[in-house]
Symmetry: C3
Subunit: 265 residues, 3 copies
Amino acid sequence: MKLDHFLLAVREKHPLVHHITNWVTIYDCAQIVKSLGASPVMAHASEEADAMTTLGSALVLNIGTLTSDLIASMKRSIEAAKHKRIPVVLDVCGAGATVFRDRVCAELLDTNGVTVIKGNASEIARVAGLSVATRGVDTGHVREDLVAVAKGLAKTRNAVVVVTGERDIVATADTAYLVANGHPIMAKVVGTGCMANSVIGTFVGASPENPALAAAAGLAAYEIAAEQAAALCPTPMAFKHALFDCLYALTVEDLATRNQVTVAA
Amino acid sequence: MKLDHFLLAVREKHPLVHHITNWVTIYDCAQIVKSLGASPVMAHASEEADAMTTLGSALVLNIGTLTSDLIASMKRSIEAAKHKRIPVVLDVCGAGATVFRDRVCAELLDTNGVTVIKGNASEIARVAGLSVATRGVDTGHVREDLVAVAKGLAKTRNAVVVVTGERDIVATADTAYLVANGHPIMAKVVGTGCMANSVIGTFVGASPENPALAAAAGLAAYEIAAEQAAALCPTPMAFKHALFDCLYALTVEDLATRNQVTVAA
Amino acid sequence: MKLDHFLLAVREKHPLVHHITNWVTIYDCAQIVKSLGASPVMAHASEEADAMTTLGSALVLNIGTLTSDLIASMKRSIEAAKHKRIPVVLDVCGAGATVFRDRVCAELLDTNGVTVIKGNASEIARVAGLSVATRGVDTGHVREDLVAVAKGLAKTRNAVVVVTGERDIVATADTAYLVANGHPIMAKVVGTGCMANSVIGTFVGASPENPALAAAAGLAAYEIAAEQAAALCPTPMAFKHALFDCLYALTVEDLATRNQVTVAA
């Protein structure tokens, strides 16, 4: 699929991408945005939540280490973003693990200010209200169902829904893209999912007029860089560091020729 | 000493290891657990402290950047762990530095829910109530005394006591193991102590029936990987990254043939 | 300029450098201090703010991810440092971005306890009360003006003022040093500015009798290591890791022969 212009937009616009994110991978999220030529900001005081948000081209949220303070800042930031039509990307990290986490996800989505909801199969299933056991959801067998789940959630929440996995799904109510790039070693490294969310925020911030395809392009760019990094460095930590530098060096041609983005049947 | 089965248990059971830990090395703690094939979780909201703890096979605590919020969550988590018989590993990071820190250590230990107390010589001496100057405690001269201190604290607190150093001590009230693996370059890297605590939590989580020997096996595995990493990369940051990948690649044979774990005389 | 003794002082005194800093680069700040042979401490609970501060040879503050809790601890720590004549280094990270951030900067400086104020050109301009648009301030054209701005702020705040950029400025009310070392790749890596602040704190902690020249020496040492690292590793993440190890291996001769520190005309 032709996706070059999304990477060009990131590199030409250098979007400022504001984050309220978890403590574990906060550095990696900042550096992956910088590796794309964009500018990360991370701040979470409620006193400056709206001011900082409105300086940015996108707002990236991640509930990995959520606390009540962070949630309050996230809500204020979402309201500010809505008012200025700044896209908001939410990683529903750990949805389903605790009742508290599920409640926070619902509250953030109930703001109607989230542009992209991103999670793995079990997290998205949970956010979509499915009560099925989540282990094994991300298999070939139920993959087709998962596209339907993603589209349904996209419709309900009026948002783009991203389901990461062997093949990522990027769904609107009507259309779903599949992104088949990536490498299994990504699962051996803490933070690859959080960084994917920051990459999506960066691409959507640079191309807010088409968040679904921008998200798919971002995932493809990131995962092509992962393929290149895994070819250079086959062990997890060495791979991780190469991933940053491969994304930094990724060319428009790489994205044009190596992306495996298709429209789901 | 024959320790293979402890590494096999980690790799077969993939324990979920929940952390409430410091902000400095939180990423490294997560990634070292993942490098072992286990699953790290880091979360600290009091609202989900018990729920998240009871999902895990072990609870890892570290007071490096303690605040009153974190302490409250740690206490709730310890209670939840006690109730479900989930082992709790506490790094008494910085004990002795401030009165506040000493008070928090005492409060956490007074819960009677800590399975493994881990620190360096001066920290353990402080937790044991010794008022001796701590500089120089970790020398050959007082090493024998330190075994007695560790055993005494193990008896008082009904816990396994780990004293890290050139030779680590892993003590119960009756027995002490010495772990002579490791490399001096570990002291040049921020976080090697915190990661050791997470490794102990992972091994104890996989083999809760024998926390002392599981802790010794974990330390040996981690420090054999450190020996291998130091041989490959003799500078601190390069060593650190190699440490993750050497631990990832560590074989059961490596642990069986290279461990220098003995019973203290 | 002859600066060897400042590096020697760091390596002989191993200063303990206490930090209250941001969550993004907290690990890197700790490790860069350790790479110099000094001892980092990071803690931010208000209950131990003064006790921890007075154990140290310097206090390093960074407002990157400031919250009201952190600000309270910073103020308590500054008071403790003033009382014990411990130098305080403040990175006014993000000054000018929000009203909240500007207010906090002013409050921290109004304590009259800050020894070194450090920022990039636009941040320092903002702290100095200039209302000029900050974009483009750090250009050759206004560089001379910037020296005057730095000297003026140094006089007003009775502090050393460090302005980082292609050529760093280290100004007292009367004198300004220029540090022309460094490499453009530093701007591609999140945290190089925060680490510079920690390096300054380490050098000033070891040589508190001459904070301006100690700061210049620290910047030169760090940026010579960056030149060496960039020569070895031309991609951002590989460069970053080499930077730690080059600073670790930096010799007194490197600093003596390669520093480009001059007195501003």
